[in-house]
Structures are given as structure tokens and as C-alpha cells.
Symmetry: C2
Subunit: 265 residues, 2 copies
């Protein structure tokens, strides 16, 4: 279905714009993603927006045509807005802008692809930018997913979606509590590897085994001691400076590429 909308008071437009507000977004369980390339990636991965937004008079593009067809086929809606209105909804002054409203998808543990050689696991990760960056890294190393333990930032938040650079659509995501995660983990082959500053093996000399679950902790507190104790392996990276810490997403990436090299030489 295709509609043209020119007024800001239109209820659909209001509802979409409200998705930029965190509380409202969580209640709606919908999120906004922007850009033709991003939406095309999403489509190829089978994620079709419920609503496709674009500016009236936008130049035609074969990828946009494909997107419109996909939205139509899925029973979604295509909204043509005036450029001014679109700019208000997306917050960007780009008349070529395209945006989509997506429904969140299920994030139970069975979303994870356990046949992959490695997985990322984050515990109480608070920064949505770090979360998005970890999704992007998970995509780059071909991880079977990102598992979010305990109280993490929201992967569908504007900041996480933006930092993921499209990986929100390509990387399986699961949310779980520790006491739910651990039995699930141990129900199949698994090596749980914790990034640690305590007694640990140098990360370049550790014996990694697939499927390897790389676990990093909260940005300020690191991993709880009992979580570390449950790991099959604790690894540490050299800290040659004074600050004695790495950004959580950076630590995950350095470890992930090390595991990648060990398991896919």
C-alpha cells in the first residue's frame, strides 16, 4: 500500500518519529533504520520493514524498486513524505534518504547458530555504541551470534543500530540471564573463554576449541568472579601502559580475531 503524507500531525508520522524516543521505542518493540544500502542488506537477509519511508520526487533506483516490491509483497506500507517531513522523522537533511520501520525479532538463545566456530558473549554491557560495534565485529569474524547476558544495553536502540553498520540485521542476537545461558551452553559442545585481568593464560598462547564462546564483561567492573570461574579458559591481553584496561568492544575484537586465526588457520 502506498500513501502520500504531507502533514506532520499525521498519526503514522507521529508514531514513527516517537521511535526516536527510547521509552516509546521499547514499548512499541519497533525500530527505525536508515539508508538504502542498509535497508538493501536487511532485505537480502530477509528483514523487510513494516513501513518504508522515502521522499516524494526521489530519484528512481533499482535497489529502491526492489525494496518497494519486497515491502508490498510482505503486506507492508510505503509512505512518501515531503522532504521536509522526512527530514523531521529521520533527523537528517538528506532528500535522498530512505528509512524503514522494523519490528524487533525474537532474541531467545535458539536464535544463535551453534555450528559457527565462534560466538561473542557480553555480560552487562551498558554502552549501546559498544554493543553495536560488537555486532559489527561478530559479522566480520563470521560469529554465530552475539549473546547478551544479564542487563545489557538495547541492541535495537538508535545508537546500537547505527554503530552496528548493518550487522543488526545479519548477526543473530540472543538475550539471556546467566542461569539460563549456562545450561544451554553446556547442552552442546562449547568452550567458554573469558577475557580476564585475573589469573589467566596469555591470549596468544591459549588453546582455543570450536565452538568457542568469547565472554567479555561490563565496561567498568569486568566479569563477576563466579562467571570467570565457570569459564573453561581465562585469557588476558598484555597491558603495557598505565590504564590497565581496554574498551570492551576492542577486547572482544582482539580476542575474536585471535580465535578466528586459531580455528580457521
Amino acid at each position: 500500500m502506498r500513501r502520500q503524507i504531507s502533514g506532520f500531525s499525521n498519526p503514522t508520522v507521529k508514531a514513527i518519529r516517537a521511535l526516536r524516543d527510547k521509552k516509546h521505542r521499547r514499548e512499541e518493540r519497533r525500530f527505525l533504520a536508515e539508508g538504502l544500502r542498509l535497508l538493501t542488506d536487511a532485505r537480502e537477509w530477509g528483514r523487510i520493514p513494516e513501513i518504508l519511508l522515502m521522499a516524494e520526487g526521489r530519484e528512481p533506483h533499482p535497489l529502491l524498486d526492489a525494496l518497494e516490491r519486497a515491502v508490498d509483497d510482505a503486506g507492508g506500507e510505503v509512505l512518501e513524505l515531503t522532504p521536509e517531513l522526512l527530514a523531521k522523522v529521520t533527523g537528517k537533511e538528506n532528500p535522498q534518504a530512505v528509512a524503514g520501520v522494523f519490528a524487533e525479532w525474537p532474541t531467545a538463545l535458539d536464535a544463535i547458530d551453534r555450528t559457527a566456530p565462534l560466538m561473542l558473549v557480553a555480560q552487562a554491557l551498558r554502552d549501546p555504541g559498544n554493543l553495536g560495534t560488537m555486532l559489527r565485529t561478530a559479522d566480520a569474524v563470521g560469529a554465530g551470534g552475539l549473546i547478551l547476558l544479564d542487563d545489557c544495553a538495547d541492541p535495537f536502540s538508535v545508537e546500537a543500530v547505527r554503530a552496528s553498520m548493518g550487522a543488526i540485521f545479519t548477526v543473530p542476537i540472543a538475550k539471556a540471564r546467566w542461569d539460563e545461558f549456562l545450561p544451554w551452553l553446556r547442552a552442546g559442545p562449547s568452550q567458554l573463554v573469558g577475557a580476564s585481568l585475573r589469573k589467566a593464560v596469555p591470549f596468544r598462547r591459549a588453546a582455543y576449541q570450536a565452538p568457542c564462546f568469547i565472554l567479555v564483561g561490563n565496561e567498568s567492573r569486568g566479569l563477576p568472579e563466579d562467571y570467570e570461574a565457570a569459564c573453561d579458559l581465562r585469557v588476558t591481553m598484555p597491558m603495557r601502559g598505565r590504564a590497565d584496561s581496554l574498551n570492551a568492544a576492542v577486547a572482544a575484537a582482539v580476542l575474536a580475531y585471535e580465535v578466528d586465526a586459531a580455528l580457521r588457520p
Copy 2:
């Protein structure tokens, strides 16, 4: 000198609060850093705030005493504010908060410690969070500094200082244009290694040599072609996913730890 200030209209307090505004901060060439641990790290590295801010009635602490003495010795100022006023200045509701106003320091190329085995170099890096994260990584791998080429984000911005987790004080920073950097680089022993998606050596199989300068490009465009051509070595990381890219600070860190392992086995 020690002063107690209770009114928000005080010109010093106004000037400090204005440092949270980007334009004003740049004109003043001063920045605000917060936290006793951070300020203590700074002191140990020889960076003393011009103005030390704390709340009246704050609990005594030996590290705070040391900080006060250092500020006094350097001819700086200690301001005691009401907790309400301090919260307004720092933007944080923490009566134990301590903050310092620092003058920026010179960022010419001779700030870099070329005796270190590796250095990080960023070209047109736009995100201050990425910049701060790269400083933190540079600290962790013991790099001789971070060199910012062309039009990068401001390392003294609130976001960069925060993301650096103190590394702003410990890692030498230089700003340079490419045509200034290249002759400086070639005036001494140097291997320039570019992170590239074009024709490049797999990063795990490259022959790194100290002092190794790891060069990463802009977040969306990567490195300009002529910059890549000037590199002694172009390296690439496996991209097994669909997005075909890594966060710039993540790419720098993965490479830096690889170089670290090669040069300091």
C-alpha cells in the same frame, strides 16, 4: 590559592561550565577532566590542572591531598564549590566528584616517542569516541603515541577524553597534515603499515618491523589511495560476514596487538 564559591554567577564557574560547549572549549584551549583516579593518573604523568574543583565537605583522601599540593605547587587554584554548584559544572550528581581544568599541551610531531616499537596513526578520524578508544588502545599496547592526520576529531573534546579512560594524559598525541607527516616519518627508521581493503597482505602473515606506524583511515572512506601507496606494507583482516568492514578503532586495536606480538614475542 584556595577559594570557596557558592554562587553560579561567579565568572570562574561560568567559564568552567562553558568548557562543556565545543566552540568555547576550542577557543579557550582548555578542557575538563573528572574523577580522582583520572586526576591522580594525570598528576603522576606530570599533568597538573590549572584549577582543581571539589565539593565543600568532601571526605579527605590522601590522593586528594597529594593533588591539592601539586596544584598549589604549580601555582594553580583550588575551588571548593557547594555540591549543587559542582553538580552543575560537571553535569554529575556525585558529591565526591573531583574535576580539573587543564590547559591543552602542544601536539607537534616531536611529541611522539619514536623509540617505541609501534605507533598508531589515524587519518581524518571523525568520531571522538573512536579517537578516545584509540588512545586507550595506544596506552594498552605501549605505543609511542597517536598521530592524527588531516582533519580529525578533537582529542581534547569531552567525548574523546571520556572514551580515553585516562589515556589522554599518558599517550603522546601529535596532529599533522600528510605532507608534513611523511617527511618526518622518513627522517628516521619507520615502517608504515596501512589497514586496507584493497590489494594487501593478510595481517597475520605480514612481516612487521619496529618502529611500526599503524595507519587507519576515515570511518566511512578508509585511506586515500595515495596514502595507501605510500605505505611500506598494506595489510587486511579477514572479513567473513556481509558488512565487509570493521569499526576504525577496532581495526587499529586488532592490528596493534598483532604487531605487538610480532615485535615483542
